[in-house]
Symmetry: none
Subunit: 225 residues, 2 copies
DNA sequence: CAATCAATCAATCAATATGTTGAATGATTG
DNA sequence: CAATCATTCAACATATTGATTGATTGATTG
C-alpha cells in the first residue's frame, strides 16, 4: 500500500533467503542435508562439489540460517535449521515442475508417441492387479497421493524416484501412473525405471480415468464419505 | 548413482527461479503485481524504483516466467504468470517471519494482532480456489462438517489437528475456517499450523459468510432434494 | 609433541548482477 | 507527419558472486 510498507526490511530478508537458494550447488547440498545430519566430506562425495567449495556454500547456508552445525570429533556435521525450510523448497520445486510441464505440453515431444512408452489399458491393469502381477506406483506428490490413490499403490513422487528405487520389487511389473493423460510425471518415471532395467508400464489415464470408471479409490477424501 | 540425480537440470531451474526472487526490488514489484495488472509507471510510483531500473527488473521477472505482459495503448501492463507463484512467495515470507520471530523471541498472541497475512478475504479465497492454490481445512467437529461445508474442504477438528497434520499438503496454502468471526477454532488451528511451518491463512467469515454470499455448500443438509 | 585428518580461511581471477545515463522504439495524439 | 508519451535498449562503471589454489586452524592419534 504505502511506500513505507514497501521499504519494510522484510523484503531484504526474503531476498537474502531467496538468493541463498539461488545456486544449484546449495540446493543439492540442502537436499542431502534434509535427509539427515551429514559431514562436509560426505557432502562433497554425494554432491561431487570440490571440498573447499562445498565448505563455502555450506557456510553461506549457515549464514542465511538455513542449516546449523555441530562438531563431532574432527568432523563438523550439518543439519537443517528449524523453520519451514522444506516448505520453501517444496514450493519452488512445485513451481519449477509446473513450468516444465507447461513447456512439455507445448512442445509435446514426449507423449506424442505413446506406443514407445508402453501404455497399459485400464482393462489389462485390472486383470493383472487381480492376478497380483503388478505393483502400482503413484508418482504424484505426497499430498495428492494422500488425498486419493489407486488401491494398494506405493507413493514415490517422481522427483524422488531415483533415490528410492530400492523400494520397488524387481519381480513384478511396475505400473506407474499420475494425474492423467496431460501429466508427464509417469512418463518421466517410466524413463527412469526403464533406464534402470525395471519391467515397467504406464497407466496413462491415471487417477482420473480410474475414478471415472467407478473403480475404488483409497485416501482421506474418500474414506467415511 | 546419486550424482546423476544431483546434476538433474531441475536444480538449475529452481536456482534460477530463486535467484530471480533474490532482490528486494523484484519482490516489491511482484507484491504489487500480485494485487492486479499494473503499468510500468504505476509500479515506479508505488515502489519508488527509478523508471529504467523498474523496467529492467520487470523484464528479469518476465524472462524467469513469473510475470506476463500485455499492451494497452501506449502502456505495457504487467500481471502475475500462471502457476503456484504466490505459494512460493508465501512460503518465503513464512520462513522469514519465522526467523524474525525466533530472533526477537517474539510471542505470538493469537488474534490480538490480526495481520493482513493471516486473514484471507472471501474474494481472494474464491480466486485462489479456482486456481487450485489452496487447501480448505474445516476445523469444526465432524457432525457440523457433515451437515455442510465449503466445497472440497478437508475436515480435521481443531483438537485433532496436531495428530493429523500429515494429511495436509505442504505445497499449497492451507486455509482454515470454522463457524465464523466469533469462533476461535480456526485461530487455534492457525497457531498450530504456523508453529509447524505450514503456509496458512484463516478465512474469518467461516461457513456463515460463505453461505450468506450465495456460494455453494456441500453436505447432507444441502444435497439435491 | 609431531603427524594426521577434517574443515575453514585467504587471496585471486573470471563471470554476473546492478544502477545510471541517454538514446531509441512503438503507439497515440493533434 | 511531427510531437508526445510510455517503455525499452545500449553502454558504462561498480559491486557481488563463484571456483580454485594453497595456507591455516582444531581436534585426534600414536
Amino acid at each position: 500500500m504505502k511506500s513505507a510498507d514497501v521499504h519494510h526490511p522484510i523484503f531484504d530478508e526474503i531476498a537474502d533467503l531467496a538468493r541463498t537458494l539461488g545456486h544449484a550447488h546449495r540446493l543439492v547440498l540442502l537436499r542431502h542435508i534434509a535427509d539427515g545430519e551429514l559431514a562436509v566430506e560426505q557432502l562433497t562425495q554425494l554432491s561431487g562439489i570440490a571440498l573447499a567449495n562445498t565448505s563455502q556454500h555450506l557456510q553461506h547456508l549457515k549464514r542465511a540460517g538455513l542449516v546449523q552445525t555441530r562438531r563431532d570429533g574432527k568432523r563438523v556435521l550439518y543439519r537443517l535449521a528449524d523453520g519451514p525450510i522444506e516448505n520453501v523448497l517444496a514450493a519452488l520445486r512445485n513451481l519449477a515442475n509446473h513450468r516444465r510441464q507447461q513447456i512439455r505440453e507445448f512442445i509435446n515431444d514426449r507423449i506424442s508417441q505413446p506406443d514407445r512408452l508402453e501404455n497399459i489399458s485400464r482393462e489389462e491393469l485390472v486383470r493383472r492387479m487381480r492376478n497380483d502381477e503388478v505393483v502400482l506406483l503413484d508418482v504424484r506428490p505426497q499430498n495428492e497421493f494422500v488425498a486419493g490413490h489407486l488401491p494398494g499403490a506405493i507413493n514415490i513422487p517422481a522427483d524422488e524416484l531415483e533415490q528410492r528405487l530400492a523400494a520397488l520389487p524387481r519381480e513384478k511389473v511396475v505400473v506407474a501412473y499420475c494425474r492423467g493423460v496431460q501429466c508427464v510425471l509417469s512418463a518421466d518415471a517410466l524413463a527412469i525405471l526403464r533406464a534402470r532395467g525395471w519391467a515397467s508400464r504406464r497407466f496413462e489415464g491415471g487417477l482420473p480415468d480410474w475414478a471415472a470408471a467407478g473403480l475404488g479409490v483409497e485416501g482421506v477424501n474418500y474414506e467415511s464419505g
